[in-house]
Amino acid sequence: MPGETVRDDLEMEYVLELAAAFDKQMRGHVVQNPDITFEDSNPLCGDKFKVSLKLNEDGEIEDVGFTGRGCAISRASAMVLIDEIQGHSYKDVDEVTRDMLIDELGIEINSAVRLKCAGLALRTVKTGLQKSGYKVTNAEEEDWAETD
C-alpha cells in the first residue's frame, strides 16, 4: 500500500490507520533518559509535538517518543518517520524528506498548511538534533513553499 495514491473519498483511510497506529504506539510510551528532547509547533494551527530521542554511542536512534497533539496527517507522517529512523543512525535522518513521507501516506496534499502538518514530526526531529549539535539538513527550508 505505501506509495500508492488513493484518490477516492476514502483516501484518508490509510492515513487514519497510520494515525491510529501512532496513537497506540505512543500511548504510555516514555523514552528513558532521552539524549534529546525538543518541542516544535505549527504556528498555523497551534499543533505541537515534543520529541524524545535516545541515541546509543554509535549515533543510532534506539528509541523515539512523541507527545503533544496533531491532526491525522501529522500523526500518520510521524508514524512513518518513526519506522524510517528507529534503529538507524541519526545520519540517516538526513535522507528523509517531507515529500517522501507524503508519498508514503499515499495522499495528495493540496495546501501549504497540510504540508506543514506532514512535515511537523520531521521538522521537530531534525531541529532537535541540530540544536543538540548533530549535523543534519536544515529542516526549516522544507517549510518554504516551492515555486517554479
Binding site: M12, C71, A72
Partner: protein, 423 residues
Amino acid sequence: MIDTRDKILDTNSESLDVAAIRRDFPILDEVENGQKVAYLDNGASSQRPEQVINAMLEYYHKYNANIHRGVYRWSEEATRGYEGAHRKVARFINAYSPREVIFTRNTTESLNLVAYAWGRANVREGDEIVSTVIEHHSNLVPWQILAAEKKATLRYIPMTKTGQLDISDLNTIVNEKTKLVAFTHMSNVLGAISPVDAIVKRAKEVGAVVVIDGAQSAPHMPVDVQALGCDFYAFSGHKMLGPTGIGVLWGRRAILEEMPPFITGGDMIRDVTLARSTWNDLPWKFEGGTPSIAEGIGLGAAVDYLSKLGMDKVRQHEIELTAYALEQMAGIPDLTIYGPTDPATRGGIISFNLGDVHPHDLATMLDREAIAVRAGHHCCQPLIELLEATATTRASFYIYNTPEEVDRLVAALHKARKVFHLD
C-alpha cells in the same frame, strides 16, 4: 427550514440579488473536482468583484503615477482617486471628515499604529490596558508589547459559556487606572457581536480611549463610528471586497492631531531640516512613504459596491443564511457548534468541530468536495484554549453565498462522519 431557504431565494423580497452579484465574481465559477468552489472562507479574505479589479486596472493602464507631487494629469488623477477613496470610506463609516481616515496595510497595522503612536505617548507605569479573551492576535499582541514596555497591566474581559463577552465584572476590569480598552466588534471565531454600548459607556466613565477591531464588522454590517462612540476603529480592505495591501484606521480628529506620527519619512512631513521635522496635515501625517495607491482606489470601489447594495441588506442576507445554516447543521450528529445561537446576535461565521476529527483533516475532506473553509486557531489561540478545542473548522459567509452552498457543506459533513468512522 425550507421557509428560510425559500425566503433567501425569493428575489422579490428585500434581500440581495445574489444571482446578479455572482456575475460580478467570475472566480466563483471556477471548478475543482468537477464542482464549482463553494467559497466559505470569507472571514479570512473575501473575493473581489470586477468593479474593484477594474478600478485598479484603470489606474495602472490610464493614469499610473505617484500622488501628490506630480505636476501632470496622471499624478493629478491618481491623487484625486486616492484622496477620493478616503472620502468614500469616511462616508461609509460616517466619519466626521476624510482627514480622520488613515490608510494602512490592514487591521493589524492599524492597531499597531494606535499601540505605537498613541500608546507609547499616553500609557505609563501602573496604568491599565483592557482587552478581551476572544481577541484576534492582532488586537492582543500589540497590547501585550505595549504593557510590557510601559510596565502597565493588561487585563482581559472574560467570555460567557455561550460565547459572548462577559461584562458582569466590567466595572472592576475597567477602572480609574484604565487608559485604553480594545475589543473586537465581531468575533472572527464565534461570530458573536460584542456589547459595544456597555463597554464604551464604562470606558468613557473612566476616561479611557476605546479601540474597536472592526475587521469582521465593517464588511458585514452597517457601521457608524459616531454612533459606536469609540475613538479608534480598524478594518481591512481585503475582507470587504477590496484588494490586499490596504486597511483603515479611523480615529477621532482631536486625538489624531495630538498624537505623534508612526511611520515617518516622505509625504508625512511639513518641513524637514537637519535638526528637526514638523508634520503634514491629517491624515497624511500618518501615511509616510508612497502609499498603496492602486489599492486605495480599489478600496474606494469596494466601498462603492457595498454602499450600492446597502449594508442593511448585506447584513440581512447573512442573518438569513446563518439562520438556515444553523438549522441545517443542528441535524448533524457529533457536531459541536461554538458561539451564540441567535442569528440576530451574530455574524455569518460558524465555527464547529465534528467529534474528535482534527479540523485540518475535516477541512481537507471538505476541500475534496470543493468547499473552501478554514481550520486552525484562527489567530485566536487564547479563545481556542477556552473552548477546550485544539482548533476549529470555520465556515464564513458573504454576499455571494447561497443556501445551495450551505446544503453542500451540510451534505459533506454527513459524509465526513462516514469517512472518519463516526457513524
